[in-house]
Amino acid sequence: MKGKVENKMLRDIFRQKLESAEVIPSPEAGVNLMRLVGRWEFLRFNPSRFNIWYAGGIAVAGAALAIILASPVHKKNISGLLNTNTSEDISSKKSDEIQSSGKYFELEAQSPLKEAGRIAKKTARTNTVASAEKAQLAMPGSSIVPAGQIASISGKDIFKGGNPVTDNLRSQSLVTENIASASVTEGCAPLKVSFRNKVVNYDSCRWTFGDGGTSSEKNPKWLFDIPGEYIVTLSVFGTGNLHSSSSLTVVVHAVPKARFESSPENAILPNDEISFHNYSSDAVKYRWDFGDGSSSELFEPMHSYKKSGRYNLKLIVSTEFGCSDSVIVKNAFSGSDNYIEFPNAFIPNLNGPSTGYYSPKSDEASQVFHPVSSTVSDYQLRIFSRNGILIFESNDINIGWDGYYKGNLCDPGVYIWKVRGNYLNGEPFTKMGDVTLLKN
């Protein structure tokens, strides 16, 4: 009840204080809001407020539509004109510009008067205009000469020197379809890619790798270490800043991370079944190699070994793109080489004393107090009562305590044991503990 009363208090404090509390907004908040409202209101069509803005908007939209509709016609015109000029390699806009600028200079050199008349068109100059002019002029000269060549030859005096013929060659080679190639375009991170610039004749080039890196080498090698999709662009610069570029995409897949643990931590083989805990990330496929010739493809397998010993564990994980990672644990369960462990309770056979011999499989095993061990050579087990009386002693690891003392069953309770001995490799061991004798 007390809690209930208190809840109410806490609630009341907040409700009374804050339910109608007022906070003064910063002045910008109001200004921003009204500005935003203004914008929304403007966008909301309202015939009653039809004004010059709407009219203007409609006009702009109409103009934009007209331009969009007109543009395919323009393109058609251009290609038609270019074909008549027997120009083969002109497909990009860039080359059109080259020519039109060349054309421009030509006009200047040949007929300044004509040019003066056209100067008004300078601002609104389109490819169509330039090409059309070219068509007119190319015809009377010689119809075999490609348009590009006219441009460079006639522009010779105005361009800063240089052989017009090579200029022409260059400008043609610069517009090749695909000038960049890569050794690989898809792979696992870190991905090393060798790029190749297929252009033979150029002044300078620049690679941008899409991850912020650039290079001006002809055939650079680049390492992509972060997964992602990168657009690699090669730009080639010729004389007079003419350039062409081409792009390719490099896909770098993430690499998974293999990690696992096994439990129990200090497993005793072959008794313990080993659980494997998978902490791998970004993987879809798993392959475990348990080192004893068996394997599994489960995410978290369990495994029992038939023999004690050291095993090399291996986990290989991979993604759907085939990127993989592996982790190897060498000499796993090496802690299992030398060990001796005792139980903390046992139930003696009530029917009478036994020899103390036990075999791991028989019922006797649970009726005799004995260790599980490996590689024990020398061994002495002594068991004391709580009064400190030695009630059992064994120098044979195969003989355990049956729970009897001088032919009589001992009282249920706690008994102290102490064991001393050596492992096969000479390492000594001493352990003490207690065991509870139970009776059922």
Partner: protein, 188 residues
């Protein structure tokens, strides 16, 4: 002074002057609501702005029967909930101390011991989930069932969030209370 009725009619006609009047009249109260749901004043003002946009453009939905201020508040609270959902992905973690804090307090607080400002600070410092549930339940007075529906969580989650929020708040208030007591002792 223009009455609410006139303002509402003006806003329904998208009259800028009425909108400005509405803002001037109610922004302080509504920011008080927003601040309870936000982690700081900047976020509160964002919620306020979104709320006013909703209010301006949906003012026709106000039936005119209930209290106008109640309607404004409801719109604002709903906007705060939307804002909470929008930002949910940035707020998935809760500090462990806050999560495991135990209900310690048997202390009750004097009503006027804490100022509104201090209580706002306490709310602003809460994890967003706690803040939502506490506000909706304790201050707004919604039932856990309704809150669960509004926030898209389980009713039991709402209840447990509320009780944890309470524990955290109590803890914070106690600390603040001690601090204040010490301060006043020092002064005396």
């Amino acid at each position: 002074m223009t009455s609410d009725q006139q303002i509402i009619e003006g806003c329904a006609k998208h009259d800028r002057k009425s909108q400005q009047l509405l803002y001037d009249k109610y922004s302080r109260f509504l920011l008080g609501v927003c601040l309870r749901y936000a982690s700081d004043k900047a976020e509160a003002e964002d919620i306020l702005q979104d709320s006013f946009l909703k209010i301006f453009f949906n003012i026709k939905d106000y039936s005119g029967t209930g209290s106008f201020i109640g309607w404004l508040r409801k719109v604002t609270v709903n906007t705060a909930i939307t804002n909470y959902h929008k930002n949910l992905k940035y707020r998935y973690h809760i500090e462990i101390e806050e999560f495991v804090s135990v209900e310690t307090g048997v202390e009750s607080f004097e009503e006027d011991f804490f100022t509104a400002d201090e209580l706002y600070k306490v709310l602003n410092g809460l994890p967003a989930g706690y803040r939502m549930v506490f506000n909706l339940y304790a201050v707004e007075g919604y039932k856990h069932k309704e809150i669960a529906k509004m926030l898209g969580i389980d009713t039991n989650t709402s209840k447990s969030q509320y009780s944890r929020a309470k524990a955290v708040i109590r803890d914070k208030l106690e600390k603040l209370g001690k601090l204040k007591n010490r301060y006043s002792e020092d002064n005396n």
